[in-house]
């Protein structure tokens, strides 16, 4: 099992080793976001709203972690569809679990790389120290990563079932989550009914928790536990949806035609 997972990870490492544009793509949007939000917050700081700076930059960095995590899962399998390699993978004696573990490993590697680059840039350009959150970083990082995987399994299921036609959804679905996750503002800003929706997302607890840590230096373990529990449910739901889509693909004989869809 380990060897097959290694092979699948290796396939993606080879891809990135060779392509400067792909490596650039990992970092380009996060860095651009950081620059835009960084300068906006710099301006707000000068307007005497200093706390806003750390909230916005922190929100931006953590949001990108969630987004990259979802993308890593989805793009790994979509890539195989686009280059017509999906059948080669599915006729190899590899299980779906092994494919998923491999894509998660690739996702962790990419997320870590992005976090390090953004952390260094945020510190250098805006004196924002992501490590100031201390050990709280670990659960925040893990919850966002896992939620990204859950969403990623859902969008991967769509990619597998609908091929190219689902591309817009692959990119767009994370942005359906963003307004309700209270990334750049506290949940209390949202209308009451949307607050209920917001608290159904594990990511909301992380962004709320981040603001509490940065403001009061305190980590609320209870809300972390809720987020972890929810993540468990979302992961089970994401995996079930992916399994169902794969079943439909096999039923419809779509594997050899996905790149045409």
């Amino acid at each position: 099992m380990g060897l097959r997972i290694y092979a699948l990870v290796l396939r993606h490492l080879y891809l990135y080793r060779r392509s400067v544009t792909r490596i650039g793509d990992i970092f380009f949007w996060p860095v651009m976001n950081l620059l835009v939000w960084g300068f906006v917050t710099d301006y707000l700081q000068r307007m005497a709203l200093p706390q806003t700076v750390v909230f916005l930059i922190g929100g931006m960095i953590f949001w990108d972690l969630l987004y990259r995590s979802q993308q890593a899962i989805t793009l790994s399998l979509s890539e195989e569809i686009w280059v017509r390699n999906i059948m080669n993978v599915f006729i190899a004696p590899v299980s779906i679990l092994e494919i998923m573990i491999a894509t998660c490993i690739v996702g962790v590697l990419k997320a870590l790389a992005v976090m390090v680059v953004l952390g260094v840039l945020a510190y250098g350009l805006y004196a924002f120290n992501v490590l100031a959150m201390g050990w709280a970083l670990v659960p925040f990082f893990s919850i966002l990563l896992l939620f990204g995987w859950a969403v990623g399994m859902f969008t991967t299921g769509l990619a597998l079932r609908f091929g190219h036609a689902a591309e817009a959804l692959i990119w767009g679905i994370p942005f359906l989550i963003q307004p309700f996750s209270a990334v750049f503002y506290p949940v209390e800003v949202l209308p009451r009914w949307l607050q209920t929706v917001a608290y159904l997302m594990p990511s909301t607890y992380v962004f709320e928790g981040m603001r509490t840590v940065l403001q009061a230096g305190r980590l609320d373990l209870e809300i972390l536990a809720i987020a972890v529990g929810m993540n468990g449910l979302y992961l089970i739901g994401g995996a079930a949806f992916f399994g169902w889509m794969l079943h439909r693909v096999r039923e419809k004989g779509l594997l050899s035609r996905l790149y045409l869809e």
């Binding site: 097959r4 092979a7 290796l10 390699n85 080669n88 190899a92 004696p93 050899s256």
Partner: protein, 255 residues
């Protein structure tokens, strides 16, 4: 001998909504045999291959490979089979070596380097090891796909139109390689092609499909005789036109 049959297909049916792609198909393939699946476009050849690889689930019927039920033992079976097809590609942005290395590990090859070197030598790819796959010619890509398909020393090799889109010279080279591999390793091959001359050269037995149904089965020579055709290609045309096997003379008269 019970283990003489490596593939046993019984009553295989596949429906996609209202469309019946494969209907009540039954056939068996012997160990070491080159078995041709023939028929016009849309006859159900590729669907049948995908069903035999477990990529598509059947509506009805059973498939046994190496005496094992495909539905229950798919992964165990996949370790012992492989596929090369024109509609499947290896990632074009990886080098030849990288692609083969990934798949050698996916198949759990014990000494991947030695195996890859042996196969690259056999398929005349050694000098292309560090070339990016996307820069290879059609013939080279076909050989690379074959190389990948041989990594796990398959007992059954599915070849879906392996020489399509190749020029005659390169196609002849690929056929030579396939024959050499088949003879030296005794691999069972399931072969589809629209080139009837190629089928005559390659296949021990063929199964003609038309509209998802088995129309005729036998050696290429037997099929030709039954169709009273001058060639296998004429027999193919008769079946493609009428969806069944009957006299060429009858067809000529009707024309």
């Amino acid at each position: 001998m019970a283990d003489e049959w490596v593939i046993e297909v019984d009553g295989l049916t596949k429906r996609f909504g209202n469309v019946t792609a494969v209907e009540d198909l039954s056939f068996s393939i012997r160990r070491g045999e080159v078995f041709g699946l023939l028929g016009p476009n849309g006859a159900g050849k590729t669907t049948t291959i995908q069903l035999m690889l477990g990529l598509t689930t059947p509506t009805a019927g059973t498939i046994r490979v190496f005496g094992l039920d495909l539905q229950r033992h798919r992964r165990a079976i996949l370790r012992r089979v492989n596929l090369a097809a024109t509609y499947v590609s290896l990632p074009t942005n990886l080098t030849v070596w990288e692609n083969l290395n990934v798949f050698a590990r996916l198949y759990g090859i014990r000494k991947p380097r030695a195996k890859i070197e042996e196969l690259m030598e056999l398929l005349d790819l050694a000098h292309l090891a560090w070339r990016v796959t996307g820069t290879l010619s059609s013939g080279q890509i076909t050989r690379l796909n074959l190389c990948k398909a041989l990594l796990n020393d398959p007992e059954v090799l599915f070849l879906d139109e392996p020489t399509a889109s190749l020029d005659p010279e390169v196609a002849a080279r690929v056929r030579d390689i396939l024959r050499q591999i088949q003879q030296t390793r005794g691999i069972t091959m399931v072969f589809t092609s629209h080139n009837m001359r190629e089928v005559e050269l390659m296949c021990d037995r063929v199964l003609f499909l038309a509209r998802g149904r088995a129309v005729a089965q036998g050696t290429p020579a037997e099929i030709q005789i039954r169709a009273r055709a001058r060639s296998l290609e004429d027999a193919f045309i008769v079946i493609a036109r009428d969806g069944r096997l009957h006299d060429v003379a009858e067809v000529t008269e009707a024309d």
